[in-house]
Structures are given as structure tokens and as C-alpha cells.
Amino acid sequence: MSARETMEVDVVVVGAGPAGLSAAIRLKQLAKAADAEISIIVLEKSAEIGGHILSGAVLDPAALDALVPDWKERGAPLETKVKSDSFRVFTKNGSFAIPSFFLPPLFSNHGNYIASLGSLCAWLGEQAEALGIDVFPGFAATEILYNEDGSVKGVATGDMGRAADGSEKPEFAAGMELHARYTLIGEGARGSLAKQLDARFSLQENAQPQKYGLGIKEIWEIDPKKHCLGHVEHTLGWPLNNDTGGGGFLYHAAGNKLFLGLVVHLNYKNPFLSPFEEMQRYKTHPHLARLLEGGKRLSFGARAMTSGGWQSIPELAFPGGALIGCSAGFMNLPRVKGTHNAMWSGMKTAEAVFEALSIGRSNDLLAGLNARVTDGEIKADLKKVRNAKPLLSRFGTLFGTLFSGFDLWTNTLLGFSVFGTLGHGAPDYASLNKARDSKKIDYPKPDGKRTFDRASSVFLANLSHSEDQPVHLVLKDPSLPIARNLPDFDEPAQLYCPAGVYEILRDEDGKPRFNINAANCVHCKTCDIKDPAQNINWVPPEGGSGPSYQGM
């Protein structure tokens, strides 16, 4: 094996998302103010900054205001202010709006922006580079490096140019080791390095298990007559049944674009449920069908998000670094927002790192980081909504929403919850009922106008993935999908994967075989979360592989 080159830096950040870039920018700002030199490297697995970012998104600019106060003058891509806001409950053929006086004030989107988080990250990347931060898109951090004392020493980027069998192709180039005084992990929900760090340092031990949702988003260009710039709609109910958590969103963005999507909570129970098909079916509701008539679908993408909230926040610090953003999980579920908290976490972690660097510390534990990061904005945002998710999980959408509405009001008005702090129960992978106890769901066939199949959808994610590279969806035990998941759960990977990566193929005798189309992967990480056997390990493929989202 070729030797890897090594580079020493002060801080390495994994992931150029809102958390990682905010952390890097804040660090550099502090260093400049103190006239100190701090070397920062940001690694990003996407070929371009923002290319793997997917979010609704209605953005609360509070953290951006604090990070780059003159963002407007600097041309940040936040152009569409939210003008109107509605919250609807869908039945199969109709819908009704929940009057806004019923909704606690935190639901209001006044002062927020409809934006593409991908574009915002691309812009943040430019700001970071202008400050002298080295941002390297196209390089995935695939390995954590440890010092002899067990603390984190840094990360290594993946090798490029390995063939599917692991051998070195002629264009092979070895990865590089980045040794840092502190390593910040901002990989987003269910990151592959965060997962290893959790296993090694038991970061989740004193918290509730993390919960997740799968968000599937499409961008449409719709008839200008039906477009209502700045209008935001959130929906509950159909197509999801009362047992299945989640909801939809419809954001009217600039350029007659409609950002539409459906989030399905990954603690759903029916193994025959397909989040992808639910999203397609969602668009057949009369309310959406009217909007989409005469429109054209431009983009498609999917990404898992965290939803465990306050009680699932892990230990943020580990010796030599910290988790930031959704690697820890700061999503506010009822507000359907997390970017502001991701940015706060990056900025506040950067402040702690800067203090440590200033007094010559390195590769040690940033003690008390949780309080430091969450006290203030994040706690104020997340704590009062902490029971929303557990109530939904326990009581279903209808009563769960009613109870959590009540809970949000008591938290908002009286500052306490009659429920205390509820736990989340089992992790998402353990929520499936057996296939024999479950009802098959008959999803309608795609019509090619409003609803589509997986292949034509994934096509719009602009995937690039060299076929001749090792499969990045690693089965710990290759026999389990057929031996256990198929008889017990009808191998739900066939349905929960929004990109059609997993298939059960049968040979002439009808003998089943588990097939992985790794090149279809849109990097949503759902398989790593939902596989009931916890047998699929998502690791980053060759840097630069995966979707190339534009304006997602």
C-alpha cells in the first residue's frame, strides 16, 4: 500500500454543512480578532460545497445574523421572506387549516426565509475561503486517527482509484492524514465517523436514543398563476396513517419554484411502507394536484434528519474534538427547522476550541461543552418542544398532535410540562412489526406527470459514482438480508431506500439474492438507521461521488 502523506493543522472540520462552515468561520473570526494564526481545514465529501445538502428549507436567520451580520450586503442567497404561513391537516380527499390562534407562537415563520440550504452552504463556503480557510470539496473523511493515549488525532481522507475488488487502479491515489489539535465532526444526521466515535466513547450513553426522519424533497417549477411567492404550508395526516409520524411541506420559492416534500419518521411500524411511494402519493392529493397541474419537476433528493431533540443530545465532546450540528442532532421537530441550531452549535463549539487553542491545549476533552453549546439559544429552542416527538410516537398523529399542542402551550405560557421529559422508547430500527402481522400497502402506479418511479427520480439527483469501486454499503453479515430480514420483514430495505439501491432478485429456481446497486445511493443514510438487523454500515464512497444537488 502506498504511504499516506500527513499534514498538521490546528483544526480539521469534517463536513461543509451549516455547522461545519459556521464553526470554521467563527474560529477564523476569533483568531483574526486576537491576531492569532489558526490553520483550519474543512473536508467535504461532495464534489461541490452544498452538493449533498438537502433541506426544506424555511430558515430562521438568527444564527446567521450573529455569524455574518452583514450577510445581506455580502449577497447571501436568502431572498424570499416568508409572507404567509398555514398549517393544514390532510384527509384523503380534503384538508382543513388549523387556525393560527391555536398554534403556539413558535410555529410562526415571521422573519424567516424560504431558501435553499445548499446554496446557503455554497455561499458560506465562499465566505470561509475569503477568510483564508481551506475548504476541500470532493474529499471524504473515512477514518478517525487516534493518539496512543486514545484521544482523537485527526482524520484520514479516503483512497481514490480503488477497483471494486479493493485493488489499486492505475490512477490510484492514497488518502491523506490530517493531524489536528481538535477535530470537529459535522457530518449531518447519522454520520459514519460520528457513529464510530459514539461506539468508542459511549457518547449517547446518558441520552435517549437518537430518532430520525427521512425527508424526500422535490423542486417543481409551477404555473405562475398558482405560485404565491413567500407562502409556506405544512401539512399533517394523509398520506401517512395515524400510526406513522411525519408531515409534508410546500414552500413557494423564487422563480416560480415550489419546494415540496414529505418527512416520514423512521419509527414507522409497517415493513411494507415505502417513504418514497408515500411522497409520490402525497402529490396526488387534490390540494397538491391543483398546484402541480401544468408544472414540471426539476429536482429530487432525500436525506435522513434527526428528530430526537433535547433528550437525545449526546455528549458533544470527546478527547480531541466534538460533534457539531446534526452529527449530534439539534433539529426542532415542531418548528421543522434545525439549521439555526446547527450553526449555533458550530459557532459555540468554535469558541470553546479557540479558548483551548489559545492556552496551548490540544487533543484533550473540552469539558463542560454540552452546557456551553446548548445554554442560551439552543436550550430555549429545543427544551420546550421536547415532548412533541415522544407524544407522537406514543399516541399517534391525531392525539399526539393534540397532546403536544397542549404541552407546547403549557411550556410556552407556564414554563413547565405536565409530562416532565418523556423518553423515546426503542430506537428506530426496532420499531418494525413482522411482515406476517402487517398489511401490504397498495401504492398507485406512477403517472409520469405528477408521480414517478425511483429510476426517473434518482436521475434528477445528478448522481455520479464510479461503478468500479468498493461497495460503500457494507454488510456486517452478508447472509442476514435473506436469512432473517426477508422472512421476518420482507427485507424492508427494498422499500425504505428512496433510491432503489436494495433489491431482492430471484434466480431461475426462485432462490432469493440480495442485490446492492451502490451507484444509486443518494447518501441519505436511511439504511444505516432503519435496517432491523443493524447490519448495513454506510461508509463514504470515493470522494466526489453521490448526488449533485443544485439549489436543494
Binding site: S119, F136, G138, M160, A173, M176, L463, S464, S548, Q550
Partner: protein, 249 residues
Amino acid sequence: MKVLVPLKRVVDFNVNIRLKADGSGVDKTNVKMSMNPFDEIALEEAVRLKEAGKADEVIAVSIGVEKGQDILRTALACGADRAILVIAEEDVEPLNIAKILAAIVAEEKPELVLMGKQAIDNDCNQSGQMLAALLGWGQGTFASKIELADDAIQVTREVDAGLQTIKVNLPAIVTADLRLNTPRYATLPNIMKAKKKPLDITTPDKLGVEVRQRLTILETVEPPVRQPGIRVTSVAELVDRLKNEAGVL
């Protein structure tokens, strides 16, 4: 020997392009751009010549918008020694490109210009040939293999009938086809080092070239959607449909 490698910044080959709503062209807002793949191959070949001791310097040049710096930095990371960006509008027509390149050739005096056979955006396949004509140099287009001798270059060309091998006297233009080589990755250490390599920025004006576009794009439309096939039940039906519906018999 100096080798000049012209590079074009194009919409990445993995991106599914979309037309602007008004039909005036391809929508490039927020679209991932990268180095034209054929140019990448030309660059790789130039770097290999240098590594084999047959070339002394590899100069990368790009003509277009300011963001073209990105692909030039990539070229520097892949082994080019220095880079020149000529700031111009996007989609400068091939004749203008050839004139600008001719002006750079006059300044830099390379003995070999290695470039992609065409750009994947407009598929013109003209710039190399036009440059050869303007300079009065020999050209070896669609190269799948090159061998450098003292004062000539042997070029194996991919032509319709197979492979054709020609000898071209230096200085010369060679345009690269797909099979010439597999380009290397820009590695992280090399990208870091490339930040320190020189990148000059100039304009057509400074080079004494007047950019004059001669074409007007009237309309851009999507190719027609392929109609789904049908299954016929008999030969007679097939013949009937071919005759009466498709009108091809």
C-alpha cells in the same frame, strides 16, 4: 519544450441539463461546472510528457468567466506548472477562442498545443483545427496515442474506419480523444501545493484580440421525447403498422 493546454469550463457531465424557461439556452444557475473531460485527458497527456522528461513546462490556459480559476487550480494540482485565465464572456465562439489562443502561442512560444477534441457542452470540435489554420501548424486530431520524436510527433487517430497513424512536424496541435489516457485525481496534497503556483489573469484586449461573436442563437429546444414501444401480435400486424402508421414501408 513547452506544452500549452487549453481548458474549457463546462457543465459537469453528470448533470442533467435543463433549458431556461424562455428557451434562450441552458440554465446554468447553481449548476455544477467542471473541466471539459477531453481537456482533462489532454492535460494528463501533457503532464505525462513532462514526467517522462520530454516536456519542460506545462501551461494551462482557460478562456471565460472569472470562475474559470477553479478548473485552472485543478489543472495546477494535476501537474500543470502555471496557468493563464483570459477573462471573457461565457461561450466564446471557436474562432474567437482560436484567435486568443494564437495570441497566447505568440507570447509563450510552445512547441505543442495539446487540447481536447471538443467541449461536451456545444460539441463544436473546431477550436483545435482553427488554431492550426491560424498558426499554419500541423495538426493531429482525435488522438488515442501519441509518441514524441525529436522534431515530430506521431499521432494515432481514431477515424471512422479504425486507427490512422500520422507523423506531424513540430510545432503542432494535437487534440485528444477519449482513449488517450485515464486522467489522474487531483490529490489533497497537490491541491494544497497548487495554491502557490502562478495563475495570471489577462483579457483578449491585452492580447490584442477583438472578440466578435458571429452566431445568433435563435432557439434552444429539448429533443423530442421518445414514444413508448408497442408489442405487435403477428407479422401481418407488424407489416401493416409499418406501412400505414409509421409510413416506412
